[in-house]
């Protein structure tokens, strides 16, 4: 092979815990050539992040790292890791808001490694830091140098983190989920930056991610980890085009893809194995639909050439289709009725700026003046309807007001303006218990949405009693019915939330929403905290329940892939306003609102991530509109902006020829060109 920069053979990681030793990594091998890029993928608990920390020598005292060989540029990595950190190995951690020190300026944090490793004084280091910030695409590096992390947007923060990792010109950059905390359009910008850095500096990358699209976009090679073991390894393109290990196949098939929107997702049943018990055979066998008794034998990483899988049946099973485990009870294509169930007109909600009277005093000029209270528009004059039995997908970036709109529709947050009708009757600001029963919500994070002190039984009994559905023995039977509906064993009724996995907890969240026998459920990022395979199972469950009971969902997500998969109609939200809404298939086909187009083009799609990156629609940094101008909220970032018309006039909603509603000044002919980059 060519010049190998990093060569790790048989790296293992063990922790001593109260329940005995845990094998977090089991003989992991990977090699990265100089200038190469390796992707390390797997679901949570697979050991990907531990791998990075083990390489850096930053695991705590309880961790024992061993390896047959661990060479970095000829040196023994495990021995000299401390001297390489920050000098020759740069690291970018997941969430830039957590990875930057809130008490230090960006300049200090970027310049610090230079003062430590390059012997520069602070002045020289600051000058260099300014150059680094400029190189990572920050427009006003001199100002950012003096800024504190809380003053920057997420994308800017991640650029600063990358700048601080690059300072000492490392040979290898370790990236731990570098874009997971960012919006999809920002994510695309960071991926562009990483690509450019690689080309310009010849730097090697080790990219840890759960997102196969991102890995495909950036990396040459791919390693798939499952429960601490490498199950598949090879060139990115070949692994993704034809995954051989059943786990890798399942992972690929579980991803919702925009182009195959209505296909049922495959999910991988079961949970990660108990890492305290080392399984000498295949540790995926208990979840594998192709498992046979001989899978209990030790498995070797084998295959043709450099594409290898740890499965002795890889060749046999390649031709077999993935078996359908949970039969869809009713077909996905239950045609929704046309009757509107919930109608909201002119919904608005502002949130006051921080503080009360004191904050609103303007102290400039010595004496206090009463300044107009600053407020943030979360939802701005939104008119929307959810029809009976339909899924309305609501997509947009963080801060676009999606969750607030969801809560407004449930009257959980009082609206400043607008009317709400449910089933043909007006819903007052303080809704009746009847409305509360029929309109329910499923939250994003099941950890914080379930009371940790209550058992499943108590969690589910409360709405039953509250809405007078069942009491006593009848409630017990009803709880069993709910657990059956969400496909959990009835024995779970005595469990506490911490005794369940993330997917199981979210099923309880769904069961709780179903307890009142609702007609309408707001799913607020209901699958965003889940791993891909679990997400697939929960999405399938939601589809089945909807078909079974004729439920309507408002499905809120930042992931347009998930939205495309589950929705009948889609609404796209930007800064509090709906910019486009219509039938899912028509809306996705185009023409697109410029914002919708940028969202769609930013998602890295496995198989075409690289070619697509070239055509991506690039947005300006998230700038605020000039004060006093009240035009289209997207105008300041819109690549198609028409000038003063867009900046000064709010575009009206109009119906396109395919029935999709859109709020944009662009004439139809020009809208067609917006979408060209996507086909």
């Amino acid at each position: 092979m060519a010049d190998i920069l990093l060569d790790i053979q048989g790296l293992s990681l063990r922790y001593a815990t109260a329940n005995g030793p845990v094998t977090a990594l089991d003989a992991v091998s990977l090699a990265i050539p100089r200038g190469g890029a390796m992707g390390l993928v797997g679901e949570s608990g697979s050991g990907k992040s531990s791998m990075l920390l083990a390489m850096l020598g930053l695991l705590g005292k309880g961790a024992a790292v061993t390896a047959d060989a661990a060479r970095f540029d000829g040196q023994d990595l495990l021995k000299v890791a401390a001297s390489l950190r920050g000098r020759r190995i740069g690291t970018v951690f997941q969430d830039p808001s957590a990875a930057l020190n809130p008490a230090l300026t960006i300049g200090m944090q970027v310049a610090e490694p230079l003062t430590l490793h390059r012997g520069m004084n602070w002045r020289e280091a600051m000058e260099r830091a300014e150059g680094l910030l400029a190189e990572t695409g920050i427009h006003d590096p001199a100002a950012v140098l003096k800024a504190y992390p809380h003053q920057l947007s997420g994308g800017m923060k991640q650029r600063a983190v990358i700048a601080q990792a690059l300072g000492c010109e490392p040979d290898l950059l370790l990236l731990d989920e570098p874009t997971t905390a960012l919006d999809v359009t920002v994510e695309a910008q960071i991926l562009d930056l990483l690509d450019a850095l690689r080309a310009r500096r010849g730097i090697s990358l080790l990219l840890v991610s759960h997102n196969l699209g991102i890995v495909d976009r950036i990396c040459d090679d791919l390693t798939v980890l499952y429960a601490g073991r490498v199950v598949e390894q090879g060139p990115c393109a070949r692994v993704l085009a034809g995954p051989r290990h059943p786990y890798a196949r399942g992972l690929m098939a579980a991803m919702p893809v925009i182009s195959h929107a209505k296909q049922r997702l495959t999910s991988i049943e079961g949970n990660l194995p108990d890492l305290t018990l080392v399984d000498p055979g295949c540790n995926f066998a208990p979840r594998c639909p192709f498992a046979v008794p001989s899978c209990a034998e030790p498995q070797a990483l084998a295959g043709e050439g450099d594409h290898r899988a740890r499965c002795h049946r890889a060749t046999e099973t390649a031709a077999l289709p993935w078996p359908e485990q949970d039969q869809a009870r009713v077909s996905m294509e239950a045609a929704p009725e046309r009757r509107p169930l919930l109608e909201a007109r002119g919904m608005s909600r502002r949130f006051a700026g921080h503080g009360g009277l004191w904050r609103s005093l303007d102290w400039r000029g010595g004496w206090p003046k009463l300044a107009p209270r600053k407020s943030v528009v979360a939802v701005d004059d939104v008119t929307i309807e959810v029809r009976s039995g339909e899924v309305l997908g609501l997509v947009g970036e963080s801060g676009s007001g999606k969750s607030t709109l969801g809560r407004l529709l449930l009257r959980l947050v009082p609206a400043d303006a607008g009317q709400l009708e449910f089933g043909g009757t007006e819903v007052p600001l303080r809704p009746s218990s009847d409305f509360c029963q029929q309109a329910q919500i499923i939250f994003q994070n099941p950890d914080s949405a379930l009371n940790p002190h209550h058992t499943v039984q108590e969690i589910l009994k409360r709405p039953l009693e509250l809405f007078g559905i069942a009491k006593g023995a009848a409630a017990g039977a009803e709880i069993d019915r709910l657990l059956d509906l969400v496909r959990l064993p009835r024995s779970y009724r005595t469990r506490y939330p911490h005794q369940m996995s993330g997917g199981e907890k979210q099923r309880i969240g769904i069961a709780r929403a179903l307890a009142g026998r609702p007609r309408f459920i707001v799913c607020d990022e209901a699958v965003s905290a889940l791993d891909v395979s679990v997400q697939a199972a929960v999405l399938n469950l939601l589809s089945d329940l909807r078909a079974q009971f004729g439920l309507s969902y408002l499905f809120i997500s930042h992931d347009i892939g998930v939205i495309a998969h589950i929705s009948d109609r889609i609404a796209v939200m930007y800064r509090g306003a709906i910019v486009q809404q219509g039938e899912a298939a028509e809306l996705l086909r185009g023409p697109h609102h410029p914002y919708t187009a940028s969202l769609l083009s930013a998602v890295p799609v496995v198989g075409s991530a690289r070619s697509q990156a070239g055509n991506r629609i690039r947005l300006a940094e998230n700038a605020m509109a000039a004060p006093g101008e009240k035009g289209c909220s997207f105008a300041s970032r819109c690549p198609q902006q028409l000038g003063s018309l867009c900046r000064t006039q709010v575009p009206a909603q109009r119906r396109l020829s395919n029935g999709v509603m859109m709020a944009c000044h662009l004439p139809d002919a020009q809208l067609e060109t917006v979408s060209l980059g996507l086909s």
């Binding site: 000098r87 809130p102 610090e112 490793h117 504190y148 003053q151």
Partner: protein, 318 residues
């Protein structure tokens, strides 16, 4: 930041006015006449009437309050009833001695508390951390008057190293003698609070050490000493400062006890004296001063933590 400081200072003025009303009301609106309180149960009607006239107690309550308040605003606290001295002079001298006692205690609490807290956090789970933890809980649980008594018995009575009670001014007796009188009260006052502060610093320091930004600093190759001092400590100090301000309030209560036990002529002793001798003007002024000192401590702490916290200092865009 300036806006923030101005708001906080204005807020403090409001609190002081409110407190002056509460202090005044607590004494004047309680059942029983003030004159009876001063003169005792068996005072003659004439004596009571004379005193009421002298103190203006027959005026409407708001007039009395205004008279007292405008005096206070002019620095006029009036004349003490039980000693023939102006209240202002009595309080001024006592306040100075108590400030020395309290200031030294608070300094010791801050230095020791922060140092021990950092030590425990860095060496978490070690023998020294476990021993410290046990000692801290013991010290927090046992009130200071116990330590005062123990200290007097051990260091003054048995060993005879230090004086049990009293005070000598710095100017008269020299530095050594002055210090010898301060050592025992300062240490007794500091024990419990040091334990409290070090517990808080330990937990906020642990939180900082386990944070992502500290991990990121280590990944940048920052040496461990700098990781702790530059990256973890500034973030861990914010809660520590708030705790110190709360402890300053507790310290004021402790000073009253310690001064009584050690016969230390400070504000605490003076307040006790005023209560025992029904010296209303002295009591009112003393309580107001205590309130003011506590408000000031809170204000200083808030401003200090705002200075350390860029989110407050600069305001936030996000």
């Amino acid at each position: 930041m300036l806006v923030y400081a101005a708001r906080r200072i204005l807020g403090m003025v409001v609190v002081l006015f409110a407190m002056s009303a509460v202090v005044f009301a607590a004494i004047h609106l309680l059942p029983g006449s003030v004159a009876h309180m001063v003169l005792g149960e068996y005072a003659t009607a004439d004596a009571v009437a004379a005193l009421e006239l002298k103190l203006g107690l027959r005026d409407p309550i708001l007039v009395q309050y205004w008279r007292w308040l405008s005096g206070v605003l002019h620095g006029e606290f009036g004349q003490a009833l039980s000693i023939d001295q102006p209240v202002a002079r009595l309080i001024g001298g006592a306040l100075e001695r108590s400030a020395v006692l309290g200031g030294m205690s608070l300094l010791l609490v801050a230095l020791m508390g922060i140092a021990l807290g950092i030590h425990s956090a860095v060496h978490r789970g070690s023998l020294s951390d476990r021993v410290l933890t046990m000692m801290q809980y013991t010290l927090i649980a046992i009130p200071e008057f116990f330590w005062c008594t123990v200290a007097i018995i051990v260091f003054a009575v048995w060993l005879g190293w230090l004086p049990a009670t009293g005070y000598t001014p710095l100017a008269d007796a020299g530095l050594l003698q002055w210090l010898r009188h301060l050592i025992l009260p300062v240490i007794c006052l500091s024990l419990g609070l040091t334990a409290h502060v070090s517990r808080m610093v330990r937990s906020s320091m642990l939180e900082a050490i386990e944070s992502r930004y500290v991990l990121a600093a280590r990944a940048k190759g920052v040496p461990e000493r700098l990781v702790l001092l530059r990256h973890a400590l500034p973030n861990a100090m914010l809660p520590a400062i708030t705790v110190l301000a709360i402890d300053a309030g507790i310290l004021i209560g402790g000073i009253v006890v310690a001064e009584t036990v050690f016969s230390f002529p400070g504000l605490g002793s003076l307040l006790m004296y005023a209560i025992q001798n029904h010296d209303i003007p002295l009591l009112q002024a003393g309580m107001l001063v205590v309130t003011a000192v506590y408000s000031l401590a809170t204000l200083v702490a808030d401003l200090a933590s705002a200075m350390l916290n860029p989110r407050i200092r600069l305001g936030g865009a996000h």
